[in-house]
Amino acid sequence: MRHRFGPDARLAGFTRALMATNLKAAIMLRGAFALQVLFMALNNATFFVFWWALMQRVPSLRGWQLGDIEVLFGVVAAGFGLAVTLAGGVWELGRIIDGGELDTLLVQPPPVLLHALGLRLKASGFGDVLSGLAFIALSNRVGWRAAPLLVLAVAASAVTFVACGIVFSSLAFWLGRIDTAARQLWELVVTFALYPEPLFGGAMRLVLFTVLPAGFVGYLPARVVQTRSLEAALLLAAAAAGYLAIAVGVFNRGLRRYASGSRFGTFG
């Protein structure tokens, strides 16, 4: 059984409907929705106090200044926020696979992976996107001319985040209950992506551009936005597409091993 994302109009319609339903469900509880958005933005701002305090004392860290870190923070926050807003199901994919909950999706016409990713929307993701854009605006490093590249950078960061989540969660097909470990691996990517690139060298740098692609969710998108380099933009787009292709491949491979959970249930 193969599942692929294609430019099919019905698939696009299904995706739109899934997102609209998730959005309606999230906004239904307006107070909780607003609280999650506000607190996530506050959370990101509070975390940034660390860098603000440090860079008041040390203006340049191996060539990185506060503005550079703001752009990095902004791109990572916006990319992560977009990922969990549009594909929030990735957060629970490991549990869904291990719990045999794919059964309900397998008997429906839409592609299983697309459906599983769209099962949830994390309202806090809006807070991430908003605070991310605020960080970028406050950095004074990105002008209006860079807006198209900013869209590309955030989208590529989000795609790579989702791809990582799919790969880590798909390990559940082979290893069973690994949802906590998958989330922790995902958090490691976020953790690495929030620190300036020059801190890492040698083998670590190789890891950050391959297995834990913090380089493609943070460093390279931030560089694209700041330098407006076409080569870097093309490399970023290719890397995001490559990671997504690998993720879909790993998921499809795992799906062949999937054993039914013999569960009755509905999603919505």
Binding site: N43, L54, R62, L188, F192
Partner: protein
């Protein structure tokens, strides 16, 4: 008194046994801990190249971070499980037990802490040693370990308090995020408080955060270590205040609780 200790000790032992059987999350924390120490040892080296903002050796700051992270990661995130129990309605079964709900939950937290603290402590020691090639004097450990364990117990009680908010909020994650980040900044998790501006240091003094993180970990720094007697008193006071606050929250929640079905 003995019966009470035995009764709550059973909760602690059961939780510890459960944690030993499912070590996945703890192993994840171990990896995360090693990564964070690695990142920060690189960061402190870079800062040393640029000019240190405080009178401390970069290697001392790695040991300081090892201590703060050890305290923080050892405290089990009780609020997650408590929130799920409240949302799913499982809380009704627990309320029927002939023991204090808060006492039992805290005892379970201490049981988890007893499993996590030694493993994470060993990780902290091994990683900080590997990244700095030096070990602080034994006297520092003699003070950091007991104060760190007491601080982790207070943080566990604070997590319990956050979990109880689920009676009203359903999802306590937003409260936890902000609380956690305040702990990072006002508790001096990654940077000693001396690095922060005066207004942040003044604000921190009115919260329990420095008492549960920066002060116990400051024994790792040659300059600026807290007085042990003062720390013991402030930890006891914040522990008592947290305990009273959690009890009050629970009484309010139980009074407002309506259990439907069975």
């Amino acid at each position: 008194m003995t019966r009470t200790i035995v009764r709550y000790g059973a909760f602690a032992r059961a939780a510890a046994a459960q944690a030993r059987r499912e070590p996945g999350e703890l192993y994840g924390r171990v990896v995360f801990f090693a990564v964070i120490l690695g990142v920060f040892s690189s960061l402190w080296r870079a800062i040393a190249e640029a000019g240190m903002p405080i009178a401390a050796d970069p290697r001392e700051l790695v040991w300081y971070l090892a201590a703060t992270e050890w305290i923080l990661l050892s405290a089990p995130p009780l609020h997650v499980e408590l929130q799920e129990a409240i949302r799913a309605g499982d809380i009704a079964c627990r309320l029927a037990r002939p023991v204090s709900f808060v006492g039992a939950a805290f005892a379970e937290g201490l049981g988890l802490l007893a499993v996590r603290a030694p493993v994470l402590g060993a990780t902290a020691f091994a990683c900080a040693w590997a990244f700095t090639a030096r070990v602080p004097p034994p006297g520092a450990f003699l003070r950091v370990v007991p104060f760190g364990l007491a601080a982790a117990a207070v943080i566990t009680a604070l997590y319990l308090g956050i979990g109880l908010l689920a009676f009203w909020l359903q999802d306590v994650a937003p409260v936890f995020w902000v609380w956690q980040k305040l702990l990072f900044v006002l508790g001096g998790l990654m940077l000693p408080l001396q690095v922060y501006p005066a207004f942040i240091r003044r604000a921190a003094a009115f919260t329990p955060f420095p008492t549960v993180l920066a002060d116990p970990a400051s024994f790792m720094l040659r300059a600026g270590g807290t007085d042990a007697a003062t720390l013991a008193v402030t930890l006891a006071l914040w522990g008592a205040a947290t305990g009273a606050g959690v009890q009050w929250l629970f009484r309010r929640a139980a009074a407002a609780l309506t259990v439907n079905g069975g």
